[in-house]
Structures are given as structure tokens and as C-alpha cells.
């Protein structure tokens, strides 16, 4: 049956070529777009994580008291206006008992280093004494930061934030970027899928006489539909693999594009492109399964055709 599927594909060479081209394009687009975005985001993340503390401990924000608020509001007719924003109110400007934190860090196997700060600009590197405004903590695995934060929050009143909480706004930009890239890939894959669907749908219509004879020869509907489903599998397999190879070379080429000292080229001076294997695996699976799904529906049409209806001419022959 596989042989017949291949022969059917080869009988319409131009049609098959353009369908295959669409799938290759889908796979290629997935690899290059994701390689570009993931490379860029990966580089920024690396900088973010390497150049900043994984966890930052700062004095706790206090809930404004009635007394504290009195000095900050003035009455202007029926409305109350504030002079200073009450949210900015802090209970204190320094961390209580920083030595306890140092001791905790010393015995915590996940902590690589810590850096107490006496102001936002001056960093104390040796034997910190006196009032400490904040402590930056570096962990072995930055991914463990959120868990560590939730643990420390349970034993301390200070304000403790992990790197992803500190750079929340920055990471939100990544989310928007991800939506854009997935949308781009989705559109490409949908176009390729429509190509397969159209070609196989036309083929089922053109091959109704063949389907009738398959039925008369004792082929089960499942075997008949398999002939058409196989074509989607073959196209998805070949198109997917070719697209990945082309996408890999496309990424290699993108990496050579000089970007100078712009954020896009920070570090190497060239575009940062990701070659993560997961991109290639996901790319192949997305394209392959899109091909299989889009060939499933025409194959169902073939499945439902009755030989007698075709022979009697109830369905239009090509």
C-alpha cells in the first residue's frame, strides 16, 4: 500500500513538489524563527541572571499607620489628597539582623555567594558591618530561586524577591515576543496544512474509480483510507526533515550576520541564534502532525465511499 501511496504522489509531480515546498517552508520557518527568538532571549536571560542577584532581600514595606498617614494628607474640601504616595512608605531602611542571614547563607548549600549593600550604589564585599540596605544572593541554580524565596519568606519579615519577580516587566516582553513567534509559525504551518489538505482532497476526488475497485477487490475502508493518509505521512516526514536541515543552515547563516554593539549582537557582535535540539524536535513534530492531521480528513472521505455508489455513478467521477 505504501508503494501505491508513493506512486500516487509521483504521478502528480508538480503538485507534490509544491505541497512539499509548503511543508519544508513550515519546518524551516519554525527552526529559524525559534532559533532567532530563543537565541536573543537566551542571551538576554543569561546576562540578566549572570549580572544580577538571583534573590534580593530588602527591608519590608510596612502597612501605613494612621499616624504616618496624617502627615501625608491634607484636606482640600470634600476630597482628601496625599502629599507623598503612601505606597512608598517603608517601615525602615535597613535589614534587621543581617548577621542571621549571613549565617543562614553560610550553611545553605544552594547559595554560592551573597552581597550585602549599604546603599543602592556601594557594595560591601568584605565583613559587612552596620546597617545594610539590601542583600543580593547568588544560587547554584537560578531556577531554584522562586522556591528558595517562598521558603525564606516563611521565616522572615523582609521583602524577598527572586530574579524573575524583580525583572517581571522585562520578562513580560519575552511573553509578547513568544506570542508573536508562535503566531508566525502557526500561520506558516496552517498554510502548509491547507496545501496538503487541498492536494489530497483533490486526489480522493480524482481517484474515486480507483477507490471503487479497491473496495471490489476486498480492501477494507481502513486500508483504502491508509493509502491517502500514507501520503500525508510521507510528505510530512520528507518535508519536515528537509525543512529542519534547511532551517539549520539558515540559522548558521543568521549567526554570521554582523550586529555590532547593538543589543541584538551583544557579546559576539553577531546575531545570537539558538541551536537547541528541542527546537528541532518540536519543529519536526509540529510539521509532521500537521501533515498527518490535514491528510486525515481527505482519507476519511475515501473511507466512507461505497464502491457501489461510485460504480453506479452516484458520486461524480473525474
Amino acid at each position: 500500500m505504501l508503494k501505491l501511496s508513493i506512486k500516487y504522489l509521483l504521478s502528480k509531480k508538480t503538485q507534490t513538489f509544491f505541497t512539499l515546498f509548503g511543508i519544508v517552508l513550515g519546518s524551516f520557518a519554525y527552526v529559524t524563527i525559534n532559533g532567532f527568538y530563543q537565541g536573543f532571549q537566551g542571551f538576554l536571560m543569561e546576562n540578566l541572571v549572570n549580572n544580577n542577584p538571583h534573590i534580593k532581600i530588602t527591608p519590608r514595606d510596612s502597612t501605613p499607620t494612621k499616624e504616618a498617614l496624617q502627615s501625608r494628607f491634607y484636606k482640600d474640601g470634600p476630597r482628601a489628597n496625599f502629599i507623598n504616595h503612601p505606597k512608598q512608605q517603608k517601615g525602615r531602611d535597613f535589614i534587621q539582623s543581617p548577621e542571621l542571614w549571613y549565617r543562614r547563607f553560610k550553611f545553605d548549600k544552594d547559595v554560592v555567594a551573597f552581597s550585602p549593600q549599604i546603599s543602592s550604589n556601594v557594595r560591601v564585599t568584605q565583613k559587612p558591618r552596620g546597617k545594610i540596605n539590601s542583600i543580593g544572593v547568588r544560587l547554584i541554580d537560578f531556577n531554584a530561586a522562586p522556591l528558595k524565596v517562598s521558603h525564606w519568606k516563611g521565616i522572615s519579615d523582609e521583602r524577598i524577591e527572586s530574579w524573575d519577580q524583580i525583572h517581571k516587566n522585562f520578562l513580560n516582553v519575552f511573553k509578547i515576543q513568544n506570542v508573536t513567534r508562535y503566531l508566525m509559525v502557526l500561520i506558516t504551518v496552517i498554510i502548509a496544512s491547507f496545501g496538503i489538505f487541498n492536494v489530497l482532497n483533490m486526489m480522493v476526488n480524482n481517484k474515486k474509480r480507483d477507490i471503487a475497485i479497491f473496495g471490489a477487490l476486498g480492501f477494507t475502508p481502513k486500508q483504502i483510507s491508509r493509502i491517502f493518509l500514507n501520503q500525508g505521512i510521507i510528505l510530512g516526514l520528507i518535508g519536515g526533515i528537509f525543512g529542519l536541515i534547511l532551517g539549520y543552515f539558515g540559522c548558521l547563516f543568521m549567526e554570521t550576520i554582523p550586529m555590532g554593539e547593538t543589543p541584538m549582537g551583544a557579546g559576539s557582535g553577531h546575531l545570537n541564534v539558538s541551536f537547541e535540539i528541542s527546537i528541532y524536535i518540536k519543529g519536526f513534530l509540529v510539521v509532521f502532525f500537521s501533515s498527518v492531521i490535514s491528510s486525515y480528513f481527505p482519507s476519511r472521505v475515501a473511507f466512507k465511499l461505497q464502491p457501489i455508489d461510485i460504480i453506479r455513478g452516484k458520486t461524480t467521477d473525474a
Binding site: M1, K3, L4, K7, Y8, L10, S11, R209, D210, A212, I213, G215, A216, L217, G218, F219, T220, P221, Q223, P307, I308, I311
Partner: protein, 219 residues
């Protein structure tokens, strides 16, 4: 081996129902060569399709090899079509992408094709097509295509061959060749043949003739 008991076939199209076959009672023994004749629209092909399980009767029973056919059992229907029956239609229905040999081997495409290659070559040789086994259907004549279709129907050595006007699209010389092939196979392989034809000359080749008139057996 093939028996039809009180078979009716009524076609229902919206509110209009048309009786195609009425109270068909028929028995065909193993090794018989039966001609089914009648005017156009008399129900010859419809009867053949029922015999071949391609269509199901509105009422009545069909037995093949003494087995009552349950038309709800699709698996059984496909097995009967695959193992017991061979079809030849007015149109050859060859797969244009396959060669002559591949077309003949099509009924065994899901199994061990190699086992049948020799038989396919033998059948094609019997039909004087030995030099054309690697040609595509569009590279041979109409008569040759019909003989390839005949070889395809016989590849699994079916017990019953159902031929629906196999000479209908052929000129007299090619028609005669197809009929000679059918007769030869009937004699050598003892295949039971039911031949639908409107050509009186060819109907005489059968050992028995069944005449249909307005969906009823009239002889």
C-alpha cells in the same frame, strides 16, 4: 455454491421508490458458466452487484459457498470479496500509476505479493500479454486493458468470477479475445462464471442463460 432466495432490491430516492429486482430465486452450482441477459435497465448489473456483495438486498437472502451473507458484518463482506470473488467490469478500472503486472498483483497488495508473481505472469501469458507486463495501462490497447482486468480478477483463483459486460467497451475482435480467454479459464481452472451481457452471441457461450425482464427472472 451461489444462491439467492426471494431477493428484492428497491432503490429509494427521497419519496420515489423504484423496484429494481423482484423476488429473485436463483441457484448457481460450482463450475457453471452462466450468462445473464436482458434489456438495458432490466436489472442485470444490479443482480450481479448483489451476487458480488457490492450492494445489499432490500430483502431476501444470499448464500455464497453455503454461507448466509450478513451484510452488517463488514469484515466478512471484505473477506468474501477478497477470497471468494473476482470482478470484471465494463470499464477496466486499472490503476493508471501501476504497471500491468502491478495491477494484476493489486488484490494481493496487502499480503505476500512474491507468492503470486508467477501466477500473474502465467495469467498474462495466457492472455498474450507476456511482453507488456511492465507497461502502464495507457500504453496498451483497450482490449488488452480488459484482459489485464480479467487477469487481476483471477489472480487469487476465485471460486466465482462476476463479469459485468466485459466486452461492452470493446470492438468485436477484442471482445472475442476476452470471451475466448474467459472460456479458456473456465475450462482450465473450473471457475464459476456469471457473465452479464446484452450481446446475444456472447451469451450463448454460457452453459445456462438467465433472462431478466423488468427486474424479474423470465425464463
Amino acid at each position: 455454491m451461489l444462491e439467492l432466495r426471494s431477493v428484492f432490491k428497491i432503490l429509494q430516492d427521497k419519496s420515489i421508490s423504484t423496484s429494481i429486482l423482484t423476488d429473485i430465486n436463483l441457484k448457481i452450482e460450482n463450475g457453471e458458466f452462466v450468462s445473464l441477459v436482458g434489456k438495458s435497465g432490466s436489472g442485470k448489473s444490479s443482480l450481479l452487484y448483489l451476487m458480488g456483495t457490492l450492494d445489499k438486498p432490500t430483502s431476501g437472502e444470499i448464500l455464497i459457498q453455503n454461507k448466509l451473507i450478513d451484510f452488517k458484518n463488514e469484515k466478512l463482506i471484505h473477506q468474501i470479496r477478497k477470497n471468494e470473488l473476482g470482478f470484471v467490469f465494463q470499464f477496466h478500472y486499472l490503476i493508471s500509476e501501476l504497471t500491468v503486472l502491478e495491477n494484476v498483483l493489486l488484490p494481493v497488495a496487502n499480503g505476500d505479493q512474491k507468492k503470486y508473481v508467477e501466477r500473474a505472469k502465467y495469467l498474462l501469458n495466457e492472455m498474450s500479454l507476456e511482453g507488456k507486463i511492465h507497461r502502464k495501462p495507457n500504453q496498451i490497447s483497450g482490449g488488452e486493458r480488459q484482459r489485464v482486468a480479467l487477469a487481476r480478477a483471477l489472480i487469487k483463483n476465485p471460486k466465482l468470477l462476476l463479469a459485468d459486460e466485459p466486452t461492452g467497451n470493446l470492438d468485436s475482435i477484442n471482445g472475442l479475445k476476452v470471451m475466448e480467454t474467459l472460456k479458456k479459464l473456465h475450462e482450465t481452472e473450473k471457475t464459476t462464471i456469471v457473465l452479464v451481457t446484452h450481446e446475444i452471441e456472447f451469451s450463448k457461450w454460457g452453459k445456462r442463460t438467465i433472462r431478466l425482464t423488468d427486474g424479474k427472472i423470465s425464463n
